[in-house]
């Protein structure tokens, strides 16, 4: 049976040599290499659940009156978009399961991309010859952030509408052209033209997924063409020799198992753990808002930055050069993303290291990289936590202004201190290893000397 299939395929596609090689392609084994794979599988779940949701979602902000089964919203004016998501959540069988799984998958997708990025960054996996793979990865992270944001904006509940208003204002704050670009993109000043929703919809279900899918394909092709990186942990693993488990029979069941596990966990979360209960938020109107509102976690760093900036616009005469949201909403993410794009180049300049690398560093092997990277992580996390200061005030009654001042100072001091500590820890670990190695060598020498003198 298998022989017949192989013959059939080879005769039609002439692919037997390629398939034969593919079956014995090697995958180095380390748990951290699974993070990118988790992102890939979350993406598959996102596409599958997303396609299902498109069969029921209505991309229109036309105003309708709700007469569905959810009584608290009976008779309320809302957009068709919001009503259709309410229907998905209440009347479509398995609709709520799929919707919640979709939302969970988006959260896990971004979380695994970011963890994957940490792994790649702190092990120096982006070095030559894999810079392109890395740039594509960072680009996909940016696309995934935007995709997630548009996704929950489409629902048109109160929180999503507030988020869209903030995004619009951040766009407006761009010097010189902000208002023009946003008017063009939205079709009219906020809340935008009738065609805004179809635009966001086609971006969310077509443009961005296709872009991410294409970059993902190229990303994986590049990985395969240059082969995976590996750690030094095995004796046979060198810059020239790769040690790993072959695709067949070792890797296939493991990878399929991971796909099923990711999907399984996502469906369990989607069924059991409520996420974004949009019926509680109610419909969005420009004149409504609510206290303690938070975006999805992966945008928390931006709301934090918007909160921390003191209240000023940069004004020349009566021309507003830089409206306030620019600092937190545009400049801050640009600095972070720009850092990610420029770091490989910067590191090459500083270290003069132009060599090929198939072996990964451990974080301690490159103290400067680890220190700077850790400083950046501390910075973004502190700003991220600052984004939750309103919740802390609402829940625990801690002074809001006090918190903001604390985070303003902490987000400047914290990264420096964190980076210095990381640098120190790397150096200590290195020193410890040298001591260990010296002692080991001394012991071996002593034993050898003993053996020579004894007889």
């Amino acid at each position: 049976m298998i022989a017949r299939t192989v013959r059939w395929v080879d005769r039609r596609t002439a692919s037997a040599p390629l398939l034969r090689k593919t079956l014995r392609y090697l995958f180095p084994d380390h748990w951290s290499f699974l993070l990118g794979e988790v992102a890939l599988y979350a993406f598959i779940v996102l596409v599958a659940t997303g396609i299902y949701l498109t069969f029921f979602f209505v991309d229109s902000t036309r105003e309708v009156v709700y007469h569905g089964p959810y009584t608290p919203l009976q008779g309320q004016h809302m957009s068709e978009a919001y009503r259709s998501v309410l229907n998905i959540s209440t009347t479509v069988k398995a609709g709520l399961l799929i919707r919640q799984t979709h939302h969970w998958a988006a959260n896990i997708f971004l979380a695994s991309i970011i963890l994957h990025l940490f792994r790649v960054f702190f092990t120096g996996a982006y070095r030559k010859p894999r810079e392109l793979t890395y740039f594509l990865g960072v680009t996909m992270l940016v696309l995934a952030l935007l995709e997630g944001y548009i996704g929950y904006s489409l629902v048109d509940d109160l929180l999503s509408g507030m988020g869209l208003a903030i995004g619009y204002s951040v766009g407006l704050s761009f010097p010189f052209v902000g208002a023009n670009v946003m008017e063009w993109l939205f079709g009219a000043p906020f809340p935008g033209a009738e065609s805004l929703w179809p635009r966001m919809y086609v971006a969310h279900v077509f443009l961005f997924p296709v872009l991410i899918g294409t970059l993902l394909t190229v990303h994986l092709l590049l990985v395969v063409m240059r082969h995976h990186t590996q750690f030094r942990q095995k004796r046979a693993a060198t810059e020239h020799a790769i040690v790993g488990v072959p695709t067949w029979p070792g890797q296939v069941p493991r990878s399929l198992g991971l796909l099923a596990a990711v999907a399984g966990v996502l469906f369990l979360l989607g069924g059991l753990v409520q996420i974004n209960p949009i019926w509680l938020w109610g419909p969005y109107h420009t004149y409504l808002s609510t206290n303690g509102a938070q975006p999805d976690w992966y945008l928390g760093w931006l709301i934090g930055a918007l909160r921390l900036v003191p209240g000023f616009d940069v004004v020349i005469g009566n021309y507003t050069l830089v409206p306030n949201p620019f600092w937190g909403g545009v400049l801050f993410p640009l600095v972070v993303i720009g850092f990610l794009y420029f770091w490989p180049w910067f590191e090459r300049r500083v270290s003069g290291d132009l060599a090929y690398h198939n072996l990964l560093d451990r974080p301690r092997d490159a103290p400067l990289r680890t220190a700077v990277g850790f400083g950046m992580v501390v910075w973004v996390i502190l700003v991220f936590v600052a984004g939750s200061s309103d919740r802390v005030t609402v829940l625990f009654g801690l002074s809001y202004t006090g918190q903001i001042w604390f985070y303003r100072v902490a987000s400047i001091v914290g990264p420096i201190v964190g980076g210095l500590i990381a640098y120190r820890v790397c150096r200590e670990l290195q020193a410890g290893e040298t001591v260990e190695k010296d002692r080991h060598r001394a012991e071996v020498e002593a034993r050898l000397a003993g053996m020579q003198t004894e007889p």
């Binding site: 014995r24 090697l26 008017e183 020799a241 790993g244 099923a260 369990l268």
Partner: protein, 330 residues
């Protein structure tokens, strides 16, 4: 993590009641190393596959039978377990049934100089008969640019980019009456101190940013409106409900109930806590907003209804480059 994996594996091995045995003599004629059969692990894999199938069928049953309550939770449980059991079965197969191999292979070479040279030669030889190569290259580039320009031009139809007037328009004009969300007219005597009202222009679209107002009443002696003196109507003041920072609705009214802590009555935007002084013409008291809240002049007509007495003093909505240069228009 690696430890957890090891524990899980050793647990599984213990569960199956037999240790790991490796094939001792690799057979040189084989491609894949032989593994000694492990009936226990096979049984476990089959059991897990059966559980997975059962869960998948449970999903269908829960979907089909309407009487079953908690259908989202049960559907999630059934589908989730079907996939998790399937995953476990696959991992048992991958770790316990198929041969465990650790192979060594060569990385591809850093580069292929001979092929590179051949490619360069192929490209060069194809065009070396062309005499005005430079010019032709410029021509191709130019055409490419022109075609790209033509291709993206239709995107201009998205929306006007230069019609800045649209940002300045508000539905307010002198004499327009204030209504509530359901369209009922506001009377001056309903507006009480310490309370907060959302108002709209009578008969206009409520969703445009220029429409919604927050209306509060302040004791006249507390008002210090400066340039905007006279904008209030017997202590009733009205501001745009849209925050000048990030466009959220300013929906919280901080009445000064705890005097030492919150000394002034203020409007607060819940998005980033920009705080505006209602008694001082909407000046920023705190938060990231860079300019005051636009104020609408009011008057009370003969029948006690509140009317606008003109347009806002500033452009409404989040700030952009021209906000301070322009005037709001009706």
């Amino acid at each position: 993590m690696a430890k957890a994996k090891d524990w899980l594996l050793s647990g599984l091995v213990l569960l199956l009641g037999r240790g790991r045995r490796h094939a001792s003599h690799p057979d040189p004629r084989r491609i894949v190393k032989k593994r000694i059969p492990r009936p226990g692990a096979e049984l476990a894999a089959l059991g897990l596959l059966a559980l997975s199938s059962l869960s998948a069928i449970a999903f269908v049953v829960v979907y089909a039978v309407d009487r079953i309550p908690w259908d989202t939770q049960l559907l999630g449980l059934a589908l989730g377990f079907a996939l998790v059991f399937f995953a476990t079965a696959l991992i048992v197969i991958g770790k316990e049934l198929v041969p465990e191999e650790e192979l060594v292979d060569e990385y591809p070479p850093a580069e292929h100089p001979a092929e590179q040279a051949a490619i360069v030669e192929t490209v060069d030889e194809a065009v070396d008969g062309i005499t005005r190569r430079r010019l032709l290259k410029l021509g191709l580039l130019g055409t490419g640019g022109a075609l790209a320009l033509a291709a993206i031009t239709p995107a201009l139809s998205f929306g006007p980019a230069l019609k800045i007037k649209a940002f300045l328009e508000t539905p307010w004009r002198r004499g327009r009456r204030l209504v509530d969300e359901s369209g009922r007219l506001y009377r001056a005597d309903e507006i009480e101190e310490g309370s907060f009202y959302t108002a709209f222009p009578e008969g206009a679209d409520k969703e445009q940013l220029g429409a919604p107002l927050v209306v509060v009443r302040i004791p006249k002696r507390q008002l210090d409106l400066g340039e905007m003196t006279g904008y209030d109507a017997e202590g009733i003041v009205a501001y745009s409900a849209i925050c000048t920072h990030a466009g959220c609705a300013v929906s919280m009214y901080r009445v000064p109930t705890f005097r030492p802590v919150e000394p002034r009555p203020a409007l607060v935007c819940p998005c980033h806590y920009s705080t505006f002084d209602v008694a001082r013409a909407g000046e920023v008291l705190y938060g990231p907003a860079g300019r005051r809240l636009p104020m609408l002049p009011l008057r009370i007509d003969g029948r006690g209804f509140i009317r606008a007495d003109g347009n806002f003093n500033d452009v409404v909505g989040p700030t952009w480059w021209g906000t301070r240069m322009k005037e709001p228009r009706p």
